[in-house]
């Protein structure tokens, strides 16, 4: 027979009441200690910033399932309790905007798509153009315009082709200037004779074209290689 078996049996019998007694003593001691501690004074002595600096928040957050947290949160009720106006009042918008790279922001904006949604006609309709124009110094604008460059871009020949020269000659003093600078009755007679003969040419040509059942579009020519107008 094992000589320690009798002793082991006594130990097993005494262990539960001893453990309960120790537990009761520990709880009593802890209660007394906590009651004696001034937690506020204790926390005041703790440098929370130093503690937080030692905490790896990223690692902590990595272990947090944010989605699960958010799923469990009643955001509506939470936001209902938030005074947005008060928050915005405390936000320094100017400093916020100073920190925003507007160019970078605009680079990500599809301006064409944005404008396609804008009713430009309605927008312009709401603009008081008179008021806008009143604020424009036209003289200053014209002063900034390089008129020579503008004139260089104008096709004067095309402009002159749109001028009704015949009306100009008939209705202005330009006619009298031409009359004074050109010949007299003899040249008028020659012009009239030539014009009348050309009229007969045209009549004959039109008559022949009608006989041939061909459209007549005016006197043909000139020769392809005609180098310069021939002086009369």
């Amino acid at each position: 027979m094992d000589p320690l078996a009798r002793l082991r049996t006594v130990g097993d019998r005494l262990a539960p009441p001893t453990e309960a007694l120790a537990q009761a003593i520990a709880e009593r001691v802890i209660g007394l200690v906590i009651g004696a501690l001034d937690l506020n004074a204790l926390l005041a002595e703790i440098d929370l910033n130093a503690v937080l600096e030692q905490v790896d928040l990223d690692q902590v957050l990595d272990r947090v399932d944010v989605n699960q947290v958010l799923d469990q949160a009643d955001l509506d009720s939470l936001l209902a309790r938030v005074d947005i106006e008060r928050i915005l009042d405390r936000v320094d918008v100017n400093s916020l905007l100073d920190r925003v790279d507007v160019n970078r922001l605009l680079a990500t904006v599809d301006v064409n798509r944005l404008l396609s949604t804008v009713d430009v006609t309605a927008l312009i309709g709401r603009v008081d153009m008179d008021q806008v124009l009143q604020q424009v110094d036209v003289n200053e604008v014209i002063g900034k315009v390089d008129l020579d460059a503008v004139i260089d871009r104008v096709d004067m020949n095309a402009v002159l082709q749109r001028v009704d020269l015949e009306a100009l000659v008939e209705q202005t003093d330009l006619g009298s200037i031409i009359a004074k600078s050109s010949g007299g009755v003899a040249s008028d007679l020659v012009d009239a004779v030539r014009s009348r003969t050309v009229g007969i040419d045209e009549s004959i040509a039109r008559w022949v074209a009608r006989l041939r059942r061909r459209p007549y579009t005016g006197p043909p020519g000139p020769p392809a290689g005609l180098r310069a107008p021939v002086a009369s």
């Binding site: 015949e166 000659v169 040249s187 014009s195 050309v198 020769p223 180098r227």
Partner: protein
């Protein structure tokens, strides 16, 4: 028509004259009128020369020379004179006196001035257009380039050499023609063919 109404209408340039006709192929009437005037001029000069010869002969010899159409020498002289007349003026600047008045000029197919050789060729070929019953002139009416037979042979064309638009503007600038300076009744151009209508 104006003779019936008693009103004088101003001479109105043809619509074609609204554009400069310079360089365009001349029509039948201008060419025919030009030739007719040349014929009058060269015939008049020829007759004057014959008259001068007749006068000189009568002064020198006391006998006048009677020229007639039946005289071969007269016909030959007339043909030679006509040849010289046309060849000279066409070779000079493409314009005979008649052509200068009616504003037509002979140039090559390419629009260049006619050389003396080409002018002689055109003058020699010119009678051919008559000799085939004037059919040589049909090309002026029917051809795209308004060329007669002698033009085709000589490689020439006839073009208008005057600026019709400038002439029209000159005409419109006349005080008695333009509207703001004259009453409607006096719009006609004195001396213009329009008055004779």
């Amino acid at each position: 028509m104006t003779a019936h109404t008693g009103k004088v209408t101003p001479f109105e340039p043809p619509p074609a004259a609204r554009e400069s006709l310079q360089g365009h192929y001349a029509g039948f009437a201008s060419r025919f009128a030009s030739f007719a005037l040349d014929l009058v001029v060269l015939s008049g000069i020829f007759l004057l020369v014959l008259a001068a010869i007749n006068f000189a002969a009568s002064v020198l010899t006391g006998n006048s020379i009677h020229f007639s159409r039946g005289n071969t020498w007269v016909v030959v002289a007339y043909a030679v004179w006509a040849f010289i007349y046309f060849a000279h003026f066409w070779g000079l600047n493409g314009k005979t006196p008649g052509g200068a008045l009616f504003g037509v000029q002979v140039v090559t197919n390419d629009g260049d001035d006619v050389s003396g050789r080409r002018a002689i060729g055109r003058t020699l070929a010119f009678p051919l257009s008559f000799l085939i019953l004037c059919l040589g002139f049909l090309g002026i009416l029917l051809g795209d380039q308004r060329r007669a037979l002698h033009d085709v042979i000589a490689g020439t064309v006839v073009i208008y050499c005057w600026d019709a638009r400038a002439a029209r503007l000159r005409l419109l600038s006349r005080p008695r023609y333009s509207a703001p300076h004259a009453p409607p009744e006096s719009h006609s151009l004195p001396g213009s063919p329009g008055q004779a209508d």
